[in-house]
Symmetry: C2
Subunit: 252 residues, 2 copies
DNA sequence: GATCGATATCTGTGATCTCATATTGTGATC
DNA sequence: GATCACAATATGAGATCACAGATATCGATC
């Protein structure tokens, strides 16, 4: 009865031969896909308005549509993606109102996380944040958009992580996933101001054991970013003349 | 529409049909399952610590495991469920710390939503909230736990909905899904104080066009509920002597 | 009688298949 | 030449299957 169940093995071996060829990892496929998608959203690989095809994504990642379905489902639940009437999912195009909403909530939530973190600050945290900020500064100097985003995110998230709230973190992550794609596009605009002065103030406040000041610093950082994003966002969300390519990218 | 959810026997034959006039509804199965699960979590059909079996749930709902997988996946993403080491999912058992966290964030988020709603309050909203509160009062008088929860939830969510923030709502819903099961269990405890005086204050504040007072009212309401929940929660989360039945319920 | 090991069952995961529908492309008609 | 209709295609949804790991069960041995 299990005689014909054998051909399945051959198919599995022939499948991943598409690219790297070494990823049979059982039970970790959807995890891989999830990381890919999250990073893709944060890093600008997916543009606002872009529709994600289940089969194309799966083919590009060298797996079946199934793990992709699960991941997309989760991202929709986290409001990082939205579903069209046809059931497809796409990267949301943020209206100015929603962008404003998003950043208002960011101020509150991340302000809270910062204050909590500041209350239980330890020297190691300040040290770590200082190192990350150094990376950010060099990335800014080099105009390295990818590392700017990456370092900035790392700074914020290590700070929030120090708050030690298992409730706060997922909510904040959800927010970041929502404005991630738009954030990336905004950095492509030359007029976008980039500096990390707020981060310095936050570090100083942490060192001075002043939670309120740390919160003020984060709120100011967020508000500044929000204003900059809004200034370049059109009525239908951020639109770049060269951002009309709906092609999926798989190499990043 | 729930007429066919009972016939566990007929569900096997339900594949080709759609003639029995119930719900073969294409593309809405997972939606149905989602509503079922959400309501189940809020209404106490699922107990903290209970593990959800994919196949059993699917069988109980008369569908294939597929839609259930998608729904569970989303609920895990919303932190309403957590996954065990084996990949199964279960209703989280909230530790006192997490419960405290949860309610701190509730105060901030729902306080914000309340203030926003109060700023753009219209007479219809006050009227609607008043009617809902009446339902709640009668439910309290009757000691009708189910309607207490339902009316209370309706009160809060119509209020927050009036804030008009597409960002805030999903976050608040996520929080409610997280403490929903624990909330239900807490109401089973006789010493649980139940009154809607805060709601009255909120209504008054809304009528007086006083957003700050409305926020104070909601925060007090949340804080009171949180304290009550914590007072009955053991070190391993809320534990009731009669709540050890891991049996799945499908009829509610 | 208790403990350890082998087996049988149950679990989620990933792949494949079918189908209804949405989308698109093409052609014919006005 | 534009528009509408029809067909070809593509897409997601749901069901089913096959596999691997975890769990529980039962038997044998000490």
């Amino acid at each position: 009865m299990e005689a014909q169940g054998r051909m399945r093995v051959d198919k599995i071996e022939s499948k991943p031969a598409g690219k790297d060829g070494s990823k049979p990892a059982r039970g970790h496929v959807h995890e891989h896909v999830l990381h890919y998608m999250r990073r893709g959203l944060m890093v600008g690989a997916f543009l606002p308005g872009q529709v994600m095809s289940l089969r194309k994504l799966a083919a590009g990642l060298g797996t079946s549509p199934m793990p992709v379905r699960e991941v997309l489902s989760r991202l929709v639940a986290a409001n990082a993606l939205e579903e069209t009437k046809g059931g497809s999912v796409r990267v949301p195009r943020l209206s100015p109102e929603k962008l404003r909403d998003l950043f208002s909530v960011r101020e509150v939530l991340e302000g809270m996380a910062t204050e909590l973190a500041a209350r239980k600050v330890r020297p190691e945290l300040i040290e770590e944040l200082g190192a990350i900020n150094k990376e950010l500064l060099t990335a800014i100097e080099k105009r390295d958009i990818l590392n700017c985003l990456s370092s900035n995110q790392k700074f914020h998230f290590t700070l929030y992580e120090a708050a030690g709230s298992a409730v706060l973190m997922p909510l904040i992550e959800s927010l970041w996933l929502q404005f991630g794609p738009t954030m990336y596009m905004s950095l492509l605009i030359p007029s976008m101001p980039w500096n990390a002065s707020d981060h310095e103030h936050i570090l100083a406040a942490l060192g001075a054991n002043n939670p309120a000041a740390a919160r003020k610093g984060i709120v100011h950082d967020i508000r500044t970013t929000g204003k900059a994003l809004l200034s370049v966002a059109g009525p239908n969300g951020l639109e770049l003349p060269f951002a009309n390519g709906p092609e999926l990218q798989f190499d990043y």
